[in-house]
Structures are given as C-alpha cells and as structure tokens.
Amino acid sequence: MSFFRVDGVSLQFGGLKAVDNVSFAVNEGEIFTIIGPNGAGKTSIFNLISRLYDPSAGHLYFGDRDITALPAHTIAKMGIARTFQNIELFENATLLANLLVGRHCHTRTRLWQELLFLPTVKRAERQHRAKVEEVIDLLELQAYREKIISGLPYGVRKVTELARALCSEPKLILLDEPSSGLNVEETDDMSFWIRDIKNELGITVLMVEHDMTLVNRVSDRVLALNYGRVLASGTPAEVQSHPDVIAAYLGT
C-alpha cells in the first residue's frame, strides 16, 4: 500500500482528453514532481486530487481510502492541502486572516459558542494562532501579518499560498508551480522551504513545476506528462534523458 496513489485516472472535457489513464504512486516523505509542456494535464490532475473535478474514469487512493467520490471540502480534513498556480488568496483580508482560514479544517467550535465568543472559542483561537505563528516564523512572513493581501507583492503572495496550505497541518501538500513568477532569489528560497517542509515537517510533497533547476534540486522522483499521458517516470536524471521527454520538449 502506497501513501498516495492515482490509479488509471482519466478526465474528459467533451472530446478532449485532458488526462488519459494516468497512474502513479507517491511514497511517504518524498518530493514527487510532475513535469510536462503547457496543456499536458498537470493542473488538471491537481484539480482531480483536490476534488474540484470529477474523473471520468479511475480512482484516487490516500492511504487505503478511496477519495474519488468525496466532496471537495472533506479533502483538507483528511490531510491534503494545496496551493494554486494563479494565486487564489482571499484578496480583501489580512494575511493573518488568510492563514487562519487554513486552520479551518481543525475547527471544533459551534456557531452559538462563536456568537457569544465563549472561553472555548477563545482557547481554540489561541491554539490556531500559535500554529499560524509557527508557519509565519518558518516562512519569514512576520512583516506582513496585518497587511491586506491585495496590496502585497507577487512573491509574498506566492509564499502566503504555501503558508496557508501549511497551516492546515497536512500530510500531503500539492504545490502547483511554486516558482512561477518568482525571481532567482525567491526561487532559491522556495527550494529551501520545500526541502524544509519535507525534512523538518515530514510532509510529503507532490509538485507541478516548470523550472528544471528547482526540479533537479528538490525532487526525489519525477513524472513527465504530455497530452494527458504518462511519458516517463523515475529520478530527475532518468526522466530528463528519456527520448520521449526530449522529443516532447524540443520536437523531433
């Protein structure tokens, strides 16, 4: 039994097969990267895992549980968090509020308790805050706590996405192009953080990425995708030297 397994999954939009019978397995504690040219179906796979799309065939297993038919909002509670390629933050709220939303799947308080703000709510809020502060310290976001997201620079927002996902204390984190739009230094930071997430927090990482230097630096295994189909999988070096992958990127 593997940690996370995608088993023969397909996704069809009308006549277009965005994902075509893709299978792979992620082991606990590794960094697994999906690469592929634009439109290869990478983000579609992420949307399938976070249950925003329904697969037209196949199954997804998290541990021994089949998560194929679960509603989207239960995925976070199971321990799968994600970031978005095009930044889906809560624009008109503070960074702190954004991160606290990441704690939502650990909410235990009831509506009537919250209306009165009973001591139980206060205790729970304190605990959420403590966890959020840990993440803020890890990702060095202290300076932006009280800032509204819509006024923050792109790089900070990108890190905030990662922070929000970490706040839910996931077992598996899905990173959708964590380095897109970042400059060289920011990409460097990101690669350190991704390794910290794996080594220090013990979170398994499933990542979609274009930047091959980042991929080579952090990934344990790589899966190459084109036109929704698996081209190759293995260590970064193996996949990069695979003739089909070279053909897909450079043309024949």
């Binding site: 509603p71 989207a72 994600r82 933050l89 624009e91 509020a97 939502h104 703000f117 709510v121 809020e125």
Partner: protein
C-alpha cells in the same frame, strides 16, 4: 502617526483593540443614552428608525458585505418578523418569556388542532422563524451567483408579499394588522416612549457585538473566504453550501428581530409596506455606508433615515424659495410664479423618490465605492499621515491574472 505595539497574541482576539477605541465607544454610548433627554420627540422617533435600519444593515452586511451574496429580499424577511410579531401578539404571546403555549391551527389537510410551542416570547420567535425561512431561501442560492441570485431573492420577496396579501385568516390581507403596544416583564413600553428607544438601542448593540464575535471566529473567516474565492475556500475545507445557508439564516434571523421592532414602531402593518423599494433602501444602507465593515451599516442607516425628511423639505420649500430668489433677481413676478409651478409639478411627480435613490446609489458606486465609512477612513489617514497622504493610498492594485478560475 500612532503605533499600537502588540505584546501578546490575545490582543488580536479582543473586541476592542486599544483604550482610545474603548473611550470613543463609551462616549458614543453615553451620548446615545442621554440623547432622548435632549431631543424632540420627532428626532427621537427618527433615531429609533435609525436603530432598526442599522440592525437590518448589519444583517445585510453579514450576507452581502462579508459572504458576498446579494439580496433584494430583505423587506420580505422584515415582513415575516413583523407579521410573526403581530400574529403571536394577537394570540396572547408575550414579548419575552419562558414556558409552553398552544397555537390553534386549522390546517386544510389535518383539520383543527393545537400546536404546542416553547414560549420564547414573540420577539425571539420572530427571529427564529425568519431565520428558518432564510435558511430555506439559502438553498437555491447555492447554485446561483451575482445577478441571478438577486433575481431569485426578488422573486422570493414578491411571493412573500403575495402570501401576506392572500392569507387573510392570519394576515388580514390588505386590510393589515394592528400591533398593540409592547408589554414586557409586566411593564408597558409604548412606542413613543424613551423605554422603546432604549430597547431598540440595546437590540442594536447586542446584534453588533454578536456579529463582531462571529467575525473573529472561524465562521466569520469562512464567510470572507467564500466571498473572495470559493475555489480556495473549498480546498481549505470550508463546506460552501453549509456556510452560505448559515449566512442566509443568520442574516434573516437578525432581520426578523428588526421586523418585530419595526411592527411595534409603526403599530400597523400591511403588505404594501414591505415592497421592493424597502429592500432597495436596505441595500442602499450598506452601499452608502460602505460594505467594508459594520460601521458602514450604521452610517448608512443614519443617511437613509435622514434623507427622507431632507427630501420632504426639498419638495415643500425649494419651489417657493427658488421663485423668491428668481423674483429678487428681477425675473418678474409672472415668470417666477411659472417657475414655481413647474418646480412644484416636478417635485410632486410620482416615482421621484425612487429616481433620487437611483442617482444617489450611482454616485456612490462611481465616486465613493467604499461608502461613508471608507471616506471616514480616508480622512483619518489623511490626518495621521499629514503632509504625506497619497491619493493612491486606497486604490486597489489591479490583478490581471484571473484565468482558470473554477467556481
């Protein structure tokens, strides 16, 4: 520029952040408590309307401002609260209390019977029943966005208006219902008395505190998350359906409480008082006040309630005033009279109020999208930063990447 240094995380959990705020709100509360001693009975009555509109404004702020779901059906929620009050009062239910009471029902498919209900007093029943109906209205809202949701809530309001006009055994149809003076805890609280003013003020303060508590808890953050990005909210484990229904229910329940006070204030209710125009007034409350915080609901309520006497004054006095000025400027008595007549006919035209409301909404959306409260924040910042205020301080950064949004 003032800085508030934070030394514990608990400071962020407090309802009131610093001493200046506490002093300001205590002063405001003191002024409002002392106001009836100084004000004329007309102004006191206007204040009561401000309180009631502000309660509805807070309710609509939760739904529209915080959860991002529009509604043009809040007049219907107000009506349900008002009619629950009038009906239960006529059955001898007190304003507040505890125990059980029997309701004689004659349902078409069950025959006559008695329904025993816990006796919360009709005030809480008005809120509870409206809240339940609000939750039911919330369900279709799960599949509707933006303008389609508005249309659905308008149709809900029309349905309620129609039911109120036709269900004569309960509502007396278009004849309307009389609401007797409020009696609670063995004391009579007539609507024109100071005690009713304090009751409305107390309800408003409690509603605001409850809402603030909600907004600093997970539920409030979930509302804001749904407003800003449903996709991300879903991925963070927020059950969108449940929270939208909650938002509708809470908003409706608060409006129901306001409806109960409204019924007492007017002491007579009929279906034509709860029209689309009233719903639009409520939306104006939050647009003009600024849909960015609870301050907006209160400021908007003050504006809406006070704009009515202003319009009446304009209607009554401006034509003759204009004619007088024209006469003085040497236009001649005949032409001044003609001017007065034409101004009078414009002022008495039907639908003028609606048109003026429309113009006000448009001007606010175009030039002051953050409303009166936003203007107040800008003025405050101007003085805090004094000579360094930038005109772009409140401009939102434009984001161009909005592709691949899956709702």
């Amino acid at each position: 520029m003032q800085f508030f240094f934070k030394t514990t995380y608990d400071q962020d959990l407090r309802l009131i952040q610093h001493r200046g705020q506490l002093i300001a709100y205590l002063l405001l509360l003191g002024a409002l408590a002392a106001a009836p001693l100084l004000l004329s009975s007309y102004l006191q009555s206007q204040f009561v309307f401000v309180f009631i509109y502000a309660i509805v404004g807070v309710a609509l702020m939760i739904l529209t401002g915080f959860t991002g779901q529009g509604s043009l059906g809040h007049a219907a929620f107000l009506a349900i609260g008002a009619y629950t009050t009038a009906y239960l009062q006529s059955k001898g239910v007190p304003f507040a209390g505890a125990g059980l009471f029997a309701l004689d029902l004659n349902l078409p498919w069950l025959g006559p019977g008695k329904l025993w209900l816990p006796h919360l007093g009709y005030f809480l029943w008005a809120g509870l029943l409206t809240g339940i109906i609000g939750a039911i209205v919330g369900f279709p809202a799960l599949r509707l966005h933006g303008i389609y949701l508005l249309i659905a809530t308008i149709s809900f309001a029309f349905i309620v208006e129609e039911i109120l006009a036709r269900w004569e055994s309960v509502t007396h149809g278009n004849e309307g219902l009389r609401v007797r003076a409020l009696q609670a805890w063995g004391v009579e609280i007539p609507t024109n008395q100071v005690s009713f003013y304090y009751l409305c003020l107390a309800v408003l303060v409690l509603v605001i505190i409850g809402t603030l508590n909600l907004m600093r808890s997970p539920t409030g953050r979930a509302f804001i998350a749904i407003r800003d990005s449903e996709t991300a909210a879903k991925s963070m484990g927020i059950d969108i359906a449940a929270y939208k229904v909650k938002s509708f229910a809470i908003s409706a329940a608060i409006t129901g409480l306001a409806g109960s006070l409204y019924a007492h204030k007017l002491s007579f209710i009929s279906p034509e008082m709860f029209t689309l125009l009233l719903s639009i007034e409520f939306v104006m409350v939050i647009i003009i006040g600024g849909a960015i915080g609870l301050h907006g609901a209160v400021l908007g309520a003050i504006f809406i309630v006070m704009v009515d006497p202003l319009l009446t004054w304009v209607k009554d006095d401006v034509p003759s005033l204009a004619a007088g000025i024209a006469n003085v400027l040497g236009l001649g008595a005949g032409r001044a009279q003609a001017l007065e007549q034409s101004l009078n006919s414009i002022a008495s035209a039907a639908g003028l109020k609606g048109a003026i409301y429309g113009v006000i909404i448009m001007l606010f959306i175009l030039f002051e999208p953050m409303g009166l409260y936003g203007r107040w924040l800008k003025i405050k910042l101007f003085f805090q930063l004094f000579p360094l205020y930038k005109r772009a301080s409140f401009k939102r950064q434009k984001t161009y990447v909005k592709t691949e949004r899956n709702r």
